[in-house]
Each structure stands twice: as structure tokens, then as C-alpha cells.
């Protein structure tokens, strides 16, 4: 919000929005997820750009909404989805591709490492976008994590259904985070961050997780 407003945009938050339906869809509950497509279109159809601070939600919409609308047999919805989707951006993607920016005037005087969330990396093809934004932040000490592109093991209900495997994957990720000596780990997806943070807190590491937007919102003079 702060970043977008600082850049001069008018931000709205349609109060009727709930969930993109990813959890239901990916767990196999297609029937529960289907009505959420129409709901999304209804909430956001008037926006010039829809900015989503979570790469996996955007991947859900891009990869599945057209097919879901088709499955509902709703021609009008299919057309609306096709019309709206090109205006839906993941947050970092909006800045780098939508606005063509890398420097958003942020200040963040900390040692930070970046985890490339799977859906942002592979489904959205964010590539170097988020890192280019981070590199332009003033005061930041950006350190590269080992195996940046490896999944943290969250995977939605996977973390609960296959808790043991998920934990083993997470252990590799937190070890990699700790090896960087960073004070904070950032990403474009809150779910990965919640997952990584859960283990960093349990292990009393003192390392925290912050969403990319929180870093880009930082300004000189803020208590950071």
C-alpha cells in the first residue's frame, strides 16, 4: 500500500474479496473453488490494475481461472476472466514489468536474503525481477542464498498431509537461510514466509521473515 501510494497510485481494497480458491483447488476440492472465480471478477472488474502480494494466488488465477470458467460453462465469465487477467499482477511484477521500475526509493538498512517462491519463479516467470528491486534498495546488504530456487516445503495442505517430508524440506531451507547470516529472509509469497518463519521462530534463531513489500515500503527516518 505504502509503496504504491508513494509512487502516486490510488489504491482501493474491495471489501468483498476473500480467497482465490487455491487451497481448495490444489487439494482436490474443485467444487468449492469454482464459485470464487466469479467472485473475483465481480470484485475487481473495474480496476485498472489488480496488484496481488502473493505469487501463488496470481499463479492460481492465471493457470486455472480460464479453465475453471470454462468448466462452469459460463461464456460471459470466460470472456470477463480473459479480459481481466492481463491486468492482474503479482506485486513485484507490477513494479518491474507494469511500471518498468527497479528503484522505488526504498531504504532498508539490514542484511537480507531472498527466497524465490516456486509459483513466482516457475509459473509467473518472475526471474530476476524481485532481486533487481532489492538491489536498488538503499542501505540493504543483500546476500545470495544457496539453492534459492528450491521449494521450502510448504505446498499448502502438503505441509500438514506430509508433515514429515515438508519438515525435512523446510530444514534444508532454514539451514540455507541461517548460512547466509542474514537478519531477515524475504520472498514474494506470504505462505512461504509463514512456513519459513514458523521454523525460524521454533528454533529461536532470531532471524525474521519480511515480505518484499515491507522492505520496499521502508524509508529513511522510519523505525526499521
Amino acid at each position: 500500500m505504502k509503496v504504491l501510494e508513494r509512487l502516486g497510485h490510488t489504491v482501493d481494497f474491495p471489501a468483498g474479496q476473500t480467497c482465490c480458491g487455491q487451497m481448495h483447488w490444489n487439494t482436490g476440492y474443485q467444487a468449492e473453488a469454482l464459485p470464487l472465480v466469479g467472485r473475483f471478477v465481480e470484485q475487481f472488474r473495474h480496476a485498472e490494475a489488480v496488484v496481488v502480494p502473493s505469487s501463488s494466488c496470481v499463479a492460481m488465477m492465471r493457470d486455472h481461472y480460464p479453465k475453471m470458467a470454462e468448466e462452469l460453462g459460463d461464456r460471459k465469465l470466460m470472456a470477463e476472466v480473459a479480459e481481466l487477467l492481463p491486468r492482474v499482477y503479482e506485486f513485484s511484477e507490477f513494479l518491474t514489468r507494469g511500471l518498468g521500475l527497479t528503484d522505488v526509493g526504498a531504504y532498508y538498512p539490514h542484511r537480507v536474503t531472498y527466497h524465490a517462491s516456486c509459483h513466482g519463479l516457475r509459473n509467473l516467470g518472475l526471474g530476476d525481477g524481485p532481486m533487481s528491486l532489492l538491489r536498488a534498495v538503499k542501505g540493504i546488504d543483500l546476500v545470495q542464498i544457496e539453492n534459492m530456487e528450491q521449494c521450502c516445503g510448504f505446498g499448502g495442505t502438503f505441509a500438514v498431509k506430509n508433515a514429515d517430508v515438508s519438515s525435512a524440506m523446510l530444514a534444508e531451507k532454514t539451514t540455507a537461510v541461517l548460512n547466509t547470516g542474514a537478519e531477515a529472509c524475504t520472498a514474494c509469497d506470504n505462505s512461504c514466509l509463514m512456513h519459513i518463519q514458523g521454523a525460524l521462530h521454533r528454533q529461536r534463531t532470531g532471524v525474521r521473515t519480511v515480505h518484499l513489500a515491507e522492505i520496499l515500503a521502508g524509508a529513511e527516518g522510519d523505525a526499521l
Binding site: E32, R39, C118, G156, K161, S166, R202
Partner: protein
């Protein structure tokens, strides 16, 4: 332990989460798997990186395979015609049982009656139907000649990887197996020592046994030829020395044209072993006077492949060329190794192939054995969208289980909440109240009940914020310029 009681059969194997628990406790196994997959992945990345047209090749591979599957009936009959014309004999097997019966009868016809034996080329299809067990029951000795398969056979073990079936064993473990089974107490653990021991052990079989059983990498409809790629040359021995050769192949192995190999033989070795070209590429068509086997049989096996083909969304699974790149890339496989999947097809491709070959009667936890990270799709040489098929199969599992179980009820409730702003707000308030007894002094939750308990095994969860974003937003009002 005999090979019969440790067999990887989805009908009897424990569920993935339970089997994974056992694998995760085996630190040696995890070390071996991690090391091996890393080595192959890096090799693959190098040789794929040097191909400027890799993405176009993948697209071609996908289209060739899609075309082959879309016209499978036509191409199978074309293969039968051309193979028969060249002197081969084609047999059709509805399922694994029928395939095993046909192979057993053929071996009995051709092998020496006093001591029936066969030498085998590495074949996942024969592993799928557990052919060796059927042969053993019929009094036929089968010798695996692929080095890794030999290790598996001598170790009374099961394959854990499609291309490198003994990937879960390290050199020291292999030495122990050879020392014990080949009676070589002084054997060293250098790769040369192990290869030398295997060579001596196998050469004698190559010279003695007159019947071979193989799988197939590709069946070429246009010529009736069969193609096998391998690294050791032991396959070539089996294809050329015996009098009788029996090939068992899934009907999905069809390629329409000889020319299609141009694409496939670029995609497969680079994806599978990280080599530009396999050391041994064999293509044989029927029988030839004075050259190679005099009797050549092909068993074309369905074993549920037509039911996979009938499913619009699951169909792409059949495009697989068994390179195992998805196994090497998978962060789940990397932790557990292959045996946890309860099937000879492990890893991401196994998670979609096994349940479909079992028509979802078994292996229902496999579609959930993935975080949907997409690494498998990224490396697949024929662009199988494995995450998409996983989700499709999850939906089938949910439908099969019906609405009356705790998970389905919870999902339904949450689904109803997401459909209404009023309910969503109420749920946020209710969640805040409900979590209170679980929240510690520092604002973190360290224990969760029931299904959610998996989370708090190694993770904490932060309490919900006192003020939701929605509340904050409404208090602040819409701003901007």
C-alpha cells in the same frame, strides 16, 4: 528377505506419508539420494544449457508424443504389421498377468528344458509387472545384466529410481552385496573393482544363456523396429548373443516415425543421464539370417494404459519417456528416495502414473506427495504438466472419498466462508477468539490439534493480528492522489 516379500506393489504398500517417515529416518539413504540426484542434475543442467533450441526440442517432443497417443490404435497396428513382416512375432497382453503368462510360455518353448534361464536388459515395464517373480515361480532363473539392476537383484532389493535403480546405495554398500553374493571377500570398493566383478559375473551368463528378455525405450511404428538406449553395453550383449529375444513393452512406447528418434535421442540422454548421447543405442527390426537372435517376440502390454488414455486430463502422463529428470529435480524425492512411493515408478512421474495404472484403487496418497513446486514440469523433456495432473488426480480422490469425512467437511465449511464477505469477517473474528487458548505469551502458537498438528511438529504459528488489514483499511479510509 526374499525379493517376493519386499516387492514394491501399490496394492500392499503403506501410504506415502507412513513410508516416507521410515525413509526419512535413514540418514545414509538420504545422503546417498541427495548426492546422486545432485550429480545427475548438475550434469543435466550443463548439457541442456548448451542446447540453444532446447525449448523447441521439448515442444517437438511433446507434439510427437501427443500425436502418437492420439493415434495409438493406428500406430500399434502399423507396428504389428511391420514387425511381423520383418520376421518378429507380436503378442498382445491385456494386463500384467497376461504378459507374464506369455513371456513364461515363450521362455519355456525356447530355453533349455533342464535349466531354463534368461538374461535381462534393464526394463521398468518388467519391473512394473514383477516379471522376475513369475519367472522364478515357473522355475526359470532370470539374471539382470544392467549393473544397477544386478545390484538390486543380488541385494534382494527393489529399484528406487527409473534410470538409476540402485541410486540409494553407495559404493561401500554395493561392495558388501558383491562380496556376499559373488563370494568375493577381498573385493575393493573402487568403481573399477566393482565393475570388474560384475563383468566376470555377467560374461559367463552372456555366453551361456540362450534367451533374453528386454523392455523397449521406443517402438517405431513405421519400421516395426525396437529401440533401446543404454550406457554399459550389457544390453547390446543381450540383444545380439542369444537365439531368442523377448521384448516386453507398454503400448505407450510407440513413436510414429523413424525420424522421430532425431528428437527423442536428443531429449532422452541429456535429460536422463546428462550425456549428449548414450554410449549404446540399439535399434533392431525383426530377425536377420546369421545376425542376432533367430526368434524375436514382442509383447505389447496395456495394463491400464488405455484407461489412462481415455482420461482427457490424465492422458499426458503416457507421453513420458522415462528419463527420470523429474525424480532428480523433485525436492520431495530428494528427501525420501524412491521406495516411499510404494511402486517401481517413484518421484513426480510415479505420483501420477502409479495411481492411474491402479485406476485409483490404490496409491491414493501419491497425488498428495508433492508440494506442487513445479520443478518436475520445468525439466520434463516432453513437457508433461505434472502439477496439473496431480491436481486432477487429487480431485478424483476427493470425489471417491465422498463428503463425509473430517477433511471434506472442513473444506466445505471454509468454502462457504469464502463465498460471503459477512461470513469471512465473522470467521476472522471467531478465529481470533478460538486461537486464544493456544497462543503463548510471546504471541506464537506452538501446538495445534488434530489434522493441523503436523504444522507444529517443527514450526510455530504467529497469532492472528489484533487488527485485520480490513479493519485497518476501513479506519484509515481511501486515500491517495
Amino acid at each position: 528377505m526374499s525379493s517376493a516379500d519386499s516387492v514394491l506393489d501399490p496394492k500392499t504398500s503403506p501410504t506415502f506419508p507412513i513410508a516416507a517417515k521410515t525413509s526419512l529416518r535413514d540418514t545414509q539413504l538420504r545422503k546417498n539420494v541427495r548426492h546422486a540426484t545432485e550429480v545427475i542434475q548438475n550434469k543435466r543442467a550443463r548439457v541442456v544449457g548448451e542446447m540453444p533450441d532446447w525449448q523447441q526440442l521439448r515442444e517437438s517432443g511433446k507434439q510427437i508424443r501427443e500425436h502418437a497417443m492420439a493415434h495409438l490404435d493406428y500406430h500399434l497396428e502399423e507396428f504389428e504389421r511391420n514387425c511381423t513382416r520383418a520376421g518378429g512375432k507380436v503378442h498382445w497382453a491385456r494386463d500384467g498377468e497376461e504378459a507374464k503368462r506369455i513371456v513364461t510360455e515363450l521362455v519355456k518353448q525356447h530355453a533349455s528344458p533342464e535349466n531354463p534361464e534368461v538374461i535381462k536388459i534393464k526394463s521398468m515395464t518388467t519391473e512394473e509387472i514383477h516379471l522376475n517373480i513369475a519367472l522364478e515361480a515357473a522355475g526359470i532363473k532370470a539374471y539382470e545384466t544392467d549393473l544397477a539392476e544386478l545390484i538390486i537383484q543380488l541385494g534382494h532389493d527393489q529399484p528406487s529410481h527409473i534410470v538409476v535403480p540402485a541410486l540409494h546405495k553407495n559404493r561401500q554398500q554395493i561392495r558388501e552385496i558383491f562380496q556376499r553374493e559373488m563370494n568375493l571377500p577381498e573385493l575393493g570398493d573402487k568403481p573399477q573393482d566393482l565393475a570388474d566383478a560384475a563383468r566376470r559375473f555377467l560374461r559367463e551368463k552372456f555366453l551361456r544363456v540362450n534367451t533374453a528378455v528386454s523392455g523397449a525405450n521406443f517402438l517405431i511404428a513405421e519400421t516395426g523396429g525396437v529401440c533401446i538406449v543404454e550406457s554399459e553395453g550389457n544390453g547390446r550383449m543381450c540383444l545380439t548373443l542369444p537365439d531368442t529375444l523377448i521384448t516386453v513393452a507398454g503400448i505407450d512406447k510407440i513413436l510414429p516415425r523413424y525420424q522421430d528418434l532425431e528428437v527423442m535421442l536428443q531429449l532422452l540422454p541429456r535429460s536422463a543421464t546428462g550425456e549428449r548421447m548414450n554410449p549404446y543405442n540399439s535399434i533392431w527390426t525383426g530377425v536377420h539370417e546369421g545376425d542376432g537372435p533367430r526368434n524375436f517376440h514382442v509383447v505389447l502390454m496395456d495394463n491400464a494404459r488405455t484407461s489412462v488414455l481415455a482420461d482427457d486430463e490424465g492422458r499426458q502422463t503416457l507421453n513420458c519417456i522415462r528419463c527420470a529428470a523429474c525424480q532428480n529435480a523433485c525436492p520431495v524425492y530428494r528427501q525420501t528416495g524412491g521406495h516411499a512411493y510404494g511402486s517401481v515408478y517413484a518421484g513426480p512421474i510415479g505420483a501420477i502414473l502409479t495411481p492411474q495404472l491402479q485406476q485409483l484403487h490404490h496409491a491414493q496418497t501419491l497425488p498428495y506427495a508433492s508440494s506442487l513446486c513445479g520443478a518436475c514440469y520445468e525439466v520434463c523433456p516432453v513437457k508433461i504438466n505434472i502439477p496439473e495432473v496431480l491436481i486432477h488426480l487429487r480431485n478424483k480422490v476427493v470425489k471417491q472419498k465422498g463428503p463425509l469425512n473430517p477433511e471434506a467437511l472442513a473444506m466445505k465449511t471454509v468454502g462457504a466462508i469464502f463465498k460471503s464477505e459477512r461470513r469471512f469477517r465473522a470467521a476472522q473474528r471467531l478465529g481470533r477468539v478460538a486461537e486464544t487458548p493456544l497462543v503463548g505469551k510471546d504471541g506464537w502458537i506452538g501446538w495445534l490439534p488434530g489434522m493441523l498438528g503436523g504444522w507444529t511438529q517443527v514450526r510455530d504459528l504467529r497469532e492472528m493480528p489484533k487488527e485485520t488489514f480490513r479493519d485497518w483499511w476501513e479506519k484509515r479510509g481511501k486515500r491517495g492522489n
